[in-house]
Symmetry: C2
Subunit: 143 residues, 2 copies
């Protein structure tokens, strides 16, 4: 589904932005940590401080009303010839237990060592089933 | 509308992400350059290479169907105590001429010197009329 360059770009960036929308079509964006595995992207409702309980978060209530989501990973640079992004559109579902849930938490902890202390085993996972990939600009690695 | 710290954070960051949604509520995100002025945020349909003409862009077609948008400016850091974001939700309109249009282009060119060669006088501007501000985390300046 992803080209090698898209895949490398997604793995090389650390933060994505997730857009959800409620049933009236009002969108909302949040920054998220993520991991891509096959045709899914996993995002945890982690233990970073939040105003409300995980399942009452607006992103979760939106997904319950409207599963369509858009996830963007981009790179900014003052040299605009270096700009690039990959967007993954798909449908989101919540996973609370089972083998896929355990795998997602394991992959997230591997990718973000910060999660060693901030990702409880019971954390709910948002799985985005990607049905469309778009990209733009320069996706080559820069170090 | 903005606290001094939110305002400083927004002015200090260089890139935002804009979520729009079509009439069916399917969201889409794109990275955007932006400038905040009063209760509006201005974004230009600039001359960066695009697949289609500016007014045929999905973000523009979405706004024509559904003016509700969400704009996020965030900061990532591997030290998660430094994470922060400001989100501006509002309604978008397109401005193609007039004094506000000219002011928006002037402000964008001041903020992004790259626009000196990439922002024609006829560029269409998306004006987001912000009706809600949310923020999270550490918004203090880091240099």
């Amino acid at each position: 589904m992803l080209t090698p360059m898209q895949s490398t770009f997604l793995n090389g960036q650390r933060i994505a932005r997730l857009a959800t929308a409620d049933k009236a079509g009002v969108p909302q964006i949040v920054p998220v940590c993520y991991v891509v595995e096959g045709a899914s992207v996993y995002i945890a409702l982690d233990a970073k401080p939040k105003r409300v309980a995980p399942l009452r978060l607006k992103r979760v209530r939106n997904i319950a009303q409207n599963a369509e989501v858009s996830l963007l990973v981009d790179r900014y640079d003052e040299d605009w010839s270096q700009l690039g992004w990959v967007r993954l559109d798909g449908r989101a579902e919540l996973i609370e237990q089972g083998p896929e849930h355990a795998d997602a938490l394991r992959l997230l902890r591997q990718r973000y060592r910060q999660y060693e202390s901030m990702l409880p085993d019971g954390a709910v996972v948002i799985a985005v089933r990607v049905h469309r990939v778009a990209s733009w600009g320069d996706l080559s690695a820069t170090l």
